[in-house]
Symmetry: C2
Subunit: 224 residues, 2 copies
């Protein structure tokens, strides 16, 4: 019986190599998406690829990306014939470690990544647009959207939101140490993993912040 | 007189908005590229975009990416008619801070990114291939390529290398605090920047590392 909680495998979500690193279960995919806020969004313009770094949020089985209504991919999605959207590939990557093998060939990274293929469509429903915009703020700093001024009508009108459903999705994960060849084990080179971590520094209040407004608890929690 | 040290501006390297954040000088572009080792490489497959996280290196005005000869974009570049390569967009992004404004609308990231557009071509010259492979190892850990076993003939034959010249290039940089609207300055929300940093953890030796092989100086220097 197929795993009902897994995304179906398709020709473009099955990697050409290291297939043991590919994962299709929702839990793995969601965890990787929920642990980040920056994606690299690919689209095609005049036949050539464009890759832009941008914020995103996951709400259930949909991803949202926002931007200016003048932004190229968002304008393209909004003006697509029959509201069919545009083809995108949204990629999220965490780097967890540098893998130093004895051989140059077996050097690698420990990482977790998710690729989402599909059609990104313009979101026009006002309620869904507000949910998406709150989610994007909260993806970066959980709890923040409730502690800031919501977008007003003018700001909403200047902002485009696109949605991408989680249908054609794969995760790729590498963990562990180097995979050296048996004949290299006696070589005199140090070998192992250098962990890579992202951390937050001490919050820096804006110069014009009024006295008496402390760093919120949800920011302190994030910074740890 | 045009700045001889800047990359020419083209329709696809001039952003539709926040043009003051765009930079075209070689010094800015090189600094952003040299401070990272992971890029997101976009290419077009069957008319749709694909974005893969991968390692890269800069050598002068060329970028190199490597991979298995079976990898889709590398195979496409190797088999392109007239050795003309394939269209790619190679994007490198550093996140420097979370910008928390009083209004949800003005939330932002401090970041530095570079987009390189162009044709990625298969590298066949053996000397250039070796230079590229060493450079990719050293981009991740400077000094490492000289302290590991170089690729042998079999490994070289299994590895494809593509080159992308720095011709159509732009950097985009956001720094500083939030840009709130004047009418929002009295709102009671904390506002400022949460710095984001990447750091390295304590190197973890491989389980089969022989006793007496210490962490090399170039790794200690990286970890700091």
């Amino acid at each position: 019986m197929p795993d009902q909680t897994a995304y179906p495998q398709t020709p473009r979500t099955i990697p050409t190599r290291s297939r043991d690193r590919a994962h299709y279960d929702r839990e793995s995919v969601h965890a990787i998406l929920d642990g980040a806020y920056l994606c690299h969004l690919g689209f095609v313009r005049d036949g050539a690829p464009v890759v832009l770094p941008t914020l995103y949020a996951r709400v259930g089985e949909r991803l949202y990306v926002h931007g200016s209504t003048g932004s190229r991919p968002l304008r393209a999605a909004a003006t697509a014939p029959d509201d069919s959207g545009i083809d995108v590939c949204l990629t999220v990557t965490h780097v967890d470690g540098l893998v130093l093998a004895r051989s140059a060939f077996h050097h690698s990274l420990n990482y977790r990544s998710v690729l989402v293929h599909g059609r990104a469509v313009d979101v026009r429903d006002e309620d869904e647009r507000r949910i998406a915009l709150d989610a994007i703020v909260d993806q970066v700093v959980p709890g923040r959207s409730a502690d800031s001024r919501p977008a007003n009508a003018k700001e909403l009108a200047a902002t485009a939101v696109i949605a991408l459903d989680l249908r054609e999705v794969s995760a790729k994960v590498r963990t562990g140490g180097p995979n050296d060849e048996p004949e290299d084990l006696a070589l005199p080179y140090w070998t192992g993993v250098v962990p890579v971590q992202q951390r937050y520094g001490t919050p820096e209040p804006a110069e014009d912040l009024a006295e008496g407004i402390a760093v919120p608890e949800y920011v302190s929690r994030l910074v740890g």
